[in-house]
């Protein structure tokens, strides 16, 4: 008879005990929800009840009834534009902090997270107070006798600005962390060897920081696709996105099966995006030493 003590001291037992929390986490919070959503997406909802009769109607509705695809397409376009804007804005910010931040670097990066110190709703209310019809910008314009800018509120531009504002810190942080490991001396090497500043950036800085940038792009693009709160507050009727419509299926119309199908499709799109980003990364060309001989 092997005593319990002996079993506990076996390496295999320890391995299992230590690994258990991680495995449980993945199962409970990742696999179960995904599996259940996938299962629901093939079921049917009627009058706030869900029935387990297997069918493809939900997918047919989402993929062939124009409205849902329109929302999906609108979300993708918004995500592309917002990600691009974040990229253009984040690079100089991250570059400046990494190169000239000195001992205040960490503080500056933490300051970027300031919007997260308050809740999402308060953050959006603040944006309304700045960009809204009676917000700071339009009041200032009124004071100097100019007409108000109307495109700043309750449309897709407004919700785009709101989403970009929300996710910009992720992009900056990802690029900044990458630049921390970047040897700026390499730029001197490039310049001495005949590279003009733009050429040096494109041939040295950009490729050596591509992984960080790609992570930033993914971190902004993916939540952008699923974004629902911001368009609800800032988007107005024309600014409604896929994520908002998806949310409606659960908290208003009670069509969970349809909502699940929408979720599965969103999940698939995200997988495609991550796959594309992965394809752009060549570990050998990343500057990571020791990767892939």
């Amino acid at each position: 008879m092997v005593s319990i003590q002996r079993i506990l001291h076996r390496p295999e037992t320890r391995f299992m005990l230590l690994g258990l929390p991680a495995v449980l986490f993945v199962i409970v919070f990742l696999l179960l929800p995904i599996v259940s959503v996938i299962v629901f997406s093939f079921w049917r909802t009627e009058s706030y009840e869900i029935y387990a009769d297997w069918n493809l109607d939900n997918y047919r509705t989402v993929l062939f009834e124009g409205t849902y695809l329109t929302f999906l397409w609108r979300s993708i376009v918004t995500a592309v534009i917002v990600t691009g804007a974040c990229l253009l804005y984040a690079w100089p910010v991250a570059y400046f902090i990494a190169k000239y931040g000195g001992r205040y670097r960490l503080l500056l990066v933490l300051a970027l997270a300031a919007p997260f110190f308050t809740g999402a709703v308060l953050r959006l209310a603040a944006l309304q107070a700045i960009m809204g019809p009676i917000g700071v910008i339009n009041m200032a314009l009124g004071l100097i006798g100019l007409p108000p800018i109307e495109f700043l509120m309750f449309n897709r531009i407004a919700s785009g600005i709101g989403i970009a504002y929300l996710y910009l810190p992720f992009m900056v942080t990802a690029i900044y962390l990458s630049l921390l490991n970047f040897n700026f001396q390499l730029l001197n090497v490039a310049k001495v060897n005949g590279a003009r500043p733009w050429r040096a950036f494109l041939t040295v800085t950009w490729p050596l920081n591509w992984i960080g940038t790609a992570i930033g792009i993914t971190l902004v693009f993916i939540p952008c696709l699923a974004e629902s709160i911001t368009p609800t507050f800032l988007g107005g009727p024309s600014g409604k996105l896929y994520g908002s419509v998806l949310g409606l299926q659960f908290d208003q119309t009670g069509t969970w099966a349809l909502g699940s199908a929408m979720g599965v499709i969103l999940f698939a799109v995200c997988c495609v995006v991550i796959g594309i980003m992965w394809l752009t990364i060549n570990l050998k060309r990343s500057g990571f030493t020791g990767a892939g001989r």
């Binding site: 001197n188 310049k191 060897n193 005949g194 050596l208 500057g287």
Partner: protein, 364 residues
């Protein structure tokens, strides 16, 4: 100095300040075509700053830089057509060896055929052919340094700047590379400006050496002259291994002065600035001293110090003989190892000709 057409690089009255410190102070220098020139000095002496001024990585606050007869002061580095090799190799980690080496040609817009031809040529010259497809991290330190050299040389620049390129290599490899670097310079005929704090490197490779301290030149001269005829007390103490004797000048007569060093009277060559009553430093290189048993008589006119041989440090061909004098001072003598006539504990005499050393009026 040589006529203007022969000057590869001219630096005129260059001054560079960082905040309150003056890194380079009114530097004037002309480097000739085909010359191997070293900037030698301790860290913080301004040698790297001067190199960066030539490269265009720093702009001088005052003064001018002329490369190949063209004024380049204020021009950015990418139009200066100089090559540069850095201390940490600084190869581009995301490019293969071949791409690294071809980088300058690519920036100049050279055709693929030309780039490949040049790559084959330089890789063969530097014995790195066969490594073109590898990445820098797959190479040894010595190979990486060769790649860095190849990148600096492939476009046949007007000159090559080298910033302590061998500092990160181990001693064996450094010795080997010193010879190699000198060979490439001879074969290509491009002037090299070599920054180092290592006097052996400078002495092995250079035609001329500029010894720098606190942003100024102490001496600019052919290497043998820098070694055997130092212009200042600093050069005398920094280049080679010398014994320093600080004392008071008691008399100056003819070509000689008398130095009172801790109660011992030494004859030293008189130079401008030495006056009776003034303090002076007298430097004599360890290998110019001779050690002999105390009973042996010194050659007439030579200086003689009596003491006890404390230790013999064997170094191979030569040995350092540490002699403790009656006044407590230590003198180091480098002589052929295994002198049979003296051993530790013996009473010995150290002798040398006064002209073997150099005296300077003491600073401060």
């Amino acid at each position: 100095m040589a006529n203007a057409g022969n000057v590869a690089v001219g630096i005129y009255d260059a001054t560079k300040r960082f905040g309150r410190t003056t890194a380079v102070h009114r530097a004037n220098l002309e480097i000739r075509q085909g010359e191997f020139f070293s900037l030698l000095g301790p860290s913080g002496s301004g040698k790297t700053t001067l190199l960066r001024i030539i490269a265009g990585l720093e702009d001088p606050d005052e003064g001018r830089v002329v490369i190949d007869g063209r004024e380049v002061t204020g021009l950015p580095p990418y139009v200066r057509k100089v090559g540069m090799v850095f201390q940490d190799f600084l190869l581009f980690p995301h490019m293969t060896v071949g791409e690294n080496i071809q980088f300058p040609l690519r920036m100049q817009g050279a055709s693929k055929a030309e780039r490949d031809e040049r790559l084959a040529w330089i890789a063969k010259l530097l014995h790195i052919d066969g490594f073109e497809e590898r990445y820098p991290h797959q190479l040894s330190g010595g190979q990486q340094q060769r790649v860095a050299l190849a990148r600096g040389l492939i476009s046949r620049p007007a000159l090559l700047l080298l910033d302590e390129p061998l500092a990160n290599l181990d001693r064996e490899l450094r010795k080997e590379m010193e010879v190699e670097v000198r060979r490439y310079q001879r074969e290509l005929g491009i002037p090299f400006i070599y920054v180092t704090h290592n006097q052996e490197e400078a002495l092995t490779m250079s035609d001329r050496i500029a010894v720098m301290r606190n942003g100024s030149f102490e001496q600019v001269a052919p290497k043998v002259e820098v070694y055997s005829d130092p212009a200042t007390a600093f050069v005398a103490s920094f280049v080679g291994h010398a014994n320093r004797m600080r004392g008071r000048v008691s008399a100056v007569e003819g070509g000689r002065a008398r130095l009172d060093w801790n109660g011992v009277q030494l004859a030293i060559p008189a130079v401008a600035g030495l006056a009776a009553g003034g303090a002076a430093d007298y430097f004599v290189k360890c290998e110019h001293l001779r050690v002999a048993a105390g009973s042996e008589a010194a050659t007439a006119g030579h200086n003689r110090l009596d003491g006890t041989l404390r230790d013999v440090i064997f170094k191979g061909q030569i040995a350092d003989y540490i002699v403790v004098l009656a006044n407590g001072a230590e003198i180091v003598v480098s002589e052929a190892a295994g002198l049979p006539r003296v051993k530790a504990g013996d009473a010995v005499a150290v002798t040398w000709a006064p002209e073997a050393g150099r005296g300077f009026a003491a600073e401060g």
